[in-house]
Symmetry: C2
């Protein structure tokens, strides 16, 4: 009988360890950070700086060369948080006017899902999913939030002639805890713009430390304001590379990423922390011909070998840098070109965290846990629908893209094709050569998912943009 009681004791210990072993989750989510920026994707030194911490991270994790997002800030964040196409949630575009927008409280966010599993959930950075009461991060599953409700294009507003008299409200950095109305901390202007990402990093590290002490699994969502315009590195990094502000900012991101990783090491939780490094959409490309940008402020974020920038349907908008590290669980140094989408992170992380994927609504994400863990070499995702705002621009299927509409930049000149264009992404990463003829068999295969998607939208009408709770 003694043996049995020892066995029961062991079993209890095992169950307890397992309960404590819910993995921590950190998502570094950069803003308009192109595929071609990190050294691990062929950037780094050609952009004016080494990126040793990112590159080391890639060596320690799984790097995806075909990780896709939605092509604008708000849709991309919507899909990350919900595991659903942004169109379903009424978030297909960034908000341009001043109306209500964002996630309905009805949506179940990744933060809510993890919160239900006992996670401490902290968000530090840019939300862009609602700026009205009931739609802030701490209304949507986060225990605490420090950051900005909208985007960094608002940071220069108060420096512009005419703005003060416009009646448009000044943007504030805000903070709140779950259940609170967010408080205005300070104006988000050009004075604070270079400083904010430093604060986000510090607050994230403090949060992690607190949770480790409390023996609580944590979820840190860190949507940095870099590399969104205006390009203003922190004074610690400004001038550091000698190769210009973009290089300085890239080094800053590398440094902050390194600090986070070091902190996770110091806290002794590296082996039990899933660390994801990625971005919301392809790079900014602000040619100063098309806007009032000056030569000094023009931005040419790098999509690497792909065509296009944010707000297009091209691979440069869709593919962003992606590394996931989970020591001992996810194979170190592996690289894959399998198709994965940001919407897949919800069900995948739910699986890792023992969380629930909602079954009362459409979830478009695919559980990638077996793929991430290396139990299969296939992601299980054959493709997806490429939205640009409310328009279906293309269907991606395996190494093919079928384009119905195109635009070359965020500037909003859209071309509609009466006959869709087909690109072979292996042969033609720049999506230049329409090979619909003689490959007319490809649409026959590729369009099935569009058909399914359209049927699904009819069965489950999407939430309307600007719909109230």
């Amino acid at each position: 009988m003694k043996l049995v009681s020892i066995m029961i004791l062991f079993l209890l210990i095992a169950i307890n360890s397992f309960a404590q072993e819910k993995p921590n989750i950190v998502i570094v989510f950069l803003d308009n950070f192109g595929y071609g920026e990190p050294g691990f994707n062929g950037g780094g030194i050609i952009r004016g700086t080494e990126t040793p911490r990112m590159d080391q991270l890639a060596k320690e994790g799984l790097r995806l060369t075909n990780f896709n997002v939605e092509v604008q800030c708000t849709p991309s964040r919507s899909t990350l948080m919900t595991g659903r196409y942004a169109i379903r949630s009424g978030n297909a575009t960034v908000p341009v006017g001043d109306g209500i927008y964002g996630l309905l409280r009805w949506e179940i966010t990744m933060a809510e899902m993890l919160s239900d599993e006992g996670y401490a959930t902290g968000m530090f950075g840019k939300w862009h999913l609602g700026r009205t009461p009931g739609r802030f991060p701490t209304d949507q599953g986060f225990d605490e939030w420090y950051g900005i409700p909208n985007s960094t294009d608002e940071s220069p507003y108060s420096s512009m002639t005419g703005f003060a008299e416009s009646g448009v409200p000044v943007t504030y950095v805000m903070q709140s805890k779950k259940g609170e109305t967010p408080k205005k901390v300070k104006p988000y202007n050009l004075k604070y713009r270079p400083l904010i990402d430093r604060d986000l990093t510090d607050k994230a590290m403090k949060f992690m430390k607190k949770q480790v002490k409390a023996e609580k699994p944590f979820f840190v969502y860190l949507p940095y304001t870099a590399t969104h315009f205006p390009t203003m590195p922190h004074p610690d990094y400004d001038g550091k590379t000698g190769n210009g502000r973009w290089a300085d900012l890239l080094l800053q991101i590398d440094g902050y990423t390194g600090e986070l990783l070091d902190k996770i090491d110091d806290l002794g939780v590296a082996d039990n922390t899933i660390f994801i490094f990625t971005a919301d959409n392809g790079p900014e490309a602000m040619d100063f011909g098309g806007t009032s940008m000056t030569a000094e402020t023009a931005i040419n974020g790098s999509p690497g070998p792909w065509r296009g920038s944010l707000f297009t349907g091209f691979e440069g908008a869709l593919r962003v840098p992606f590394v996931v590290r989970w020591p001992g669980k996810i194979q170190a140094g592996k690289t894959s070109d399998e198709i994965v989408h940001a919407m897949d992170l919800f069900p995948t992380l739910a699986n890792f965290a023992g969380g629930k994927v909602p079954n009362d609504r459409v979830i478009d994400g695919v559980d990638m846990s077996e793929f991430f863990l290396g139990n299969t070499n296939k992601s299980g995702r054959e493709g997806f629908i490429v939205y640009m705002g409310n328009d279906i621009f293309a269907v991606k299927w395996r190494n093919w893209k079928l384009h119905f509409k195109e635009q070359n930049s965020w500037n909003g000149e859209m071309t509609t094709y009466t006959m869709p264009r087909l690109y072979n992404l292996y042969d033609d990463p720049q999506e230049k050569t329409n090979v619909l003829f003689p490959h007319t068999w490809v649409p026959k295969a590729a369009l099935n998912q569009l058909k399914e998607h359209v049927i699904s939208l009819k069965k489950n009408p999407p939430i309307k943009a600007g719909q109230a709770d």
Copy 2:
């Protein structure tokens, strides 16, 4: 006295070892192989295949992200062989008509320089520096040659309607030994086009084996016909990736490179062999709109993150993949963005081989030996003149490019700027945003080298294109 004689004996042994220790040199020189193709430059899997051997080579050697060439086949080969701008040698363009062209016998080639130092010199592949008696590789320093005098665009000729009756001679694969008139081996047609690179690899390996047995240092120059149009992988590789012919061809190159490296290992000379992997110029980009190419045969070689294809002045034409491996001498796994040019290989290899750099003519190349050996982090090259044919298209200086002329493809529509355009390559790898204003200080610094170059050309008038020996 006994001690002295022992010392003399040691000295003799040392001298003898040193004599035997002239490093072997292998240059794999691909045709129209873009910066973005190898896995080590962000290609590989996104092009449809892993490139494990190239990637491993990069880990074992020094990888340069800013290794530059001339932007057409003939000029690039001219500059590699002579250490001089191609314009000096009358080889600024590929030959389009049927006249005399190529290197004058007066030129001193890399093969002649190494031959003078006791090297066995073998060339296997495409010459493109002369097709008339006295101008073949074995007239220019190579002990033996097997390959084609011109280029692979000639391989489909005999399949084309009207060619047989045109009077234009059929192209032959040729071979010769030093002092011989090359013999025609077989027609270079679409039957042999997919097979030739296999034969080049075999002949190169056989040559190396023979020299190792003879205890002779060897120089193998291996200008493959891949990846020049038409894209036809060897039957061993055709269909192997399942991702199309381009991917198959990329895997073939990887495989052949691996075979060469394995052979060097097997021969026991890896530590004493400088292995260079590079290409003649940026990728082919044959849009089927601009030519009679079909969708099936259109080629979109990848320049990676850079703009442009061959026959342009953009970085995509200038920067090619580059790795140099010399175990124990050149630091393994190092990457540098320092500017190096193909013309620098002549003086650099001369230094490594104990060879002579001619002092009776202008040599434009810079000795990179200290940089390659890691004794300095600076290449010592601040920039160079960018020729496109006989025209000076641009001046490259540090991370800046000043463009006087541009064209977007090989198709030959040239734009001349009455005011030059300036690009910052760190900020703007796609060379899109002209930042001449407010950076008008850059030309003041950048144009010094153009001034020196023009003075040098006046002092040393270049050989005229088509000039007889």
